[in-house]
């Protein structure tokens, strides 16, 4: 029942903001004459969770950096919301600021500390408010990075392989946490990942980037929480792996 209202909220938000959260047309990016992205088109709707797969060097990170505004010279049209932020593979917390100050960094709103506390509470880190980042475990640090991203209420959340450096158990917990947070805050999400199972567990849509373009775009409609023993899961897994050039 809860899910239904959340879906309804997301739908109404989509109506209000009218138009996609991300609209990319004809994006081309070259490095020293080497085209990494060639006329790429991409559309992400508000509140939509999209996973982007691709081999190493396929341009996944370049696309994410372009959407984040970190890449200086893309050619093409790129429309993204102003309220967007990134969670990187490494937590990238400032080691000289306590955890809650990392969360409020650059936050321009009234009572930032209270908001930081609420955000850290949401990711289950309320007991580490005043800790130094270098004393956190890998999973804790990445949760703090998530809190730091979500406290900004982004319309677009960019996740650059955020679970790749975590151990398998922590990764499963983090995936569940991200799903919960996405349901509550409903930002549009672009998750860059190597992991086909992760894409199918989390996303509404899975894309495969190949030769600088979106080579495959599939809807993932299985009900959440997703089960790997769902026949559709296996089918789509095969589809994605084949597109990635791995015989399945």
């Amino acid at each position: 029942m809860n899910m239904v209202t959340e879906e309804a909220t997301r739908a109404s938000e989509a109506l209000q903001s009218a138009g996609p959260a991300v609209e990319v047309r004809g994006l081309t990016r070259e490095f020293a004459g080497n085209a990494v992205l060639r006329g790429l088109d991409l559309r992400i709707n508000p509140g939509e969770f999209v996973a982007l797969l691709g081999r190493s060097g396929s341009g996944k990170s370049t696309l994410l950096r372009t959407l984040a505004g970190l890449d200086a010279a893309p050619a093409g049209t790129v429309q993204v919301p102003v309220a967007r932020t990134v969670v990187f593979q490494e937590p990238r917390l400032l080691p000289w600021k306590r955890v809650w100050r990392n969360v409020t960094l650059g936050l321009r709103s009234a009572d930032p500390k209270a908001r930081a506390e609420a955000a850290l509470d949401e990711v289950g880190l309320s007991h580490r408010l005043n800790a130094w980042p270098l004393t956190l475990s890998g999973g804790e640090a990445q949760r703090a990075a998530l809190a730091r991203a979500l406290v900004r209420e982004p319309a677009l959340l960019l996740l650059d392989e955020p679970f790749a450096a975590l151990d398998a158990l922590t990764r499963i917990r983090m995936q569940a946490l991200v799903t919960d947070l996405w349901r509550v805050h409903s930002p549009a999400v672009l998750l860059v990942t190597h992991d086909v199972d992760e894409a199918l567990t989390l996303a509404d849509r899975a894309l495969v980037l190949e030769h600088g373009k979106i080579a495959l775009d599939i809807e993932v409609t299985m009900p959440r929480p997703r089960q790997p023993d769902d026949p559709t899961f296996g089918e789509q897994r095969r589809l994605l792996l084949t597109a990635l050039g791995v015989a399945a």
């Binding site: 932020t85 990238r92 080691p95 000289w96 650059g106 936050l107 900004r152």
Partner: protein
């Protein structure tokens, strides 16, 4: 070589006759003033050069050239320019302290983690905020290394500067003692220099512990 007992008794004599404290304070004052000036100049140059392209083009080549010159070789020039008062002594100390601060701070600013700066950008920090919250704190450990080196050089510079026409300071005591063949007093001077050097170095280390509290205690490997 004077007997240790003689060194101790002459040291006691320096204290009770009131010769030690005023001269010690003069020497300490010279080092602190010279060091402060050198740190200020070195920091200003490193900030400009480290944070801007223009600053690097303007500042770095001449500073790199100047630093290869042993600054103590400039003493004759300092005396001609500034006479034999306090000024040349302070300038020599300041000059010696400037370069380690500049070199360490400049490279620390340039070495500040790019990935953290990117994180600053995606969190909406302005350029100025990125410098304040990310680049400068990242450069602080390098600056403190520079400060310790600068302090060491400041004491060396002081020793040399005080042997030229000083009418006060530990160096003056030592040169006087040489003229009267008081080897024991020369040793007293050396001990005082060593003690002051050690004490000020500890002070900087204390500063490190306070300012870098965020670093997990580093144990020797």
């Amino acid at each position: 070589m004077p007997a240790p007992s003689l060194i101790v008794s002459s040291f006691w004599n320096l204290i009770v006759t009131g010769q030690l404290w005023p001269n010690l304070l003069v020497s300490l004052g010279r080092v602190l003033v010279g060091l402060a000036a050198g740190v200020a100049v070195g920091t200003a140059l490193a900030l400009w050069s480290g944070l801007t392209r223009l600053g690097e083009d303007v500042v770095d080549p001449p500073v790199q050239m100047a630093r290869t010159l042993p600054h103590l070789a400039l003493i004759p020039l300092m005396i001609l320019w500034f006479g034999i008062g306090e000024t040349p002594k302070i300038v020599i100390i300041a000059l010696g302290a400037t370069f380690p601060i500049y070199l360490n701070l400049f490279s620390a600013i340039r070495g500040a983690d790019r990935k953290l700066q990117e994180a600053g950008v995606v969190l909406g920090l302005t350029r100025r905020e990125t410098v304040w919250h990310v680049v400068l704190p990242a450069a602080l450990p390098g600056f403190l290394v520079g400060l310790r080196q600068a302090l060491g050089i400041a004491w060396i510079s002081l020793v040399v500067a005080e042997q030229i026409n000083a009418s006060s300071g530990i160096g003056y005591l030592v040169m006087n003692a040489r003229d009267f063949l008081q080897t024991d007093v020369i040793f007293d001077g050396l001990l005082v220099y060593a003690a002051l050097g050690l004490a000020t170095d500890r002070l900087v280390r204390l500063l490190e512990v306070r300012l870098l509290a965020w670093r997990p205690a580093t144990l020797p490997v």
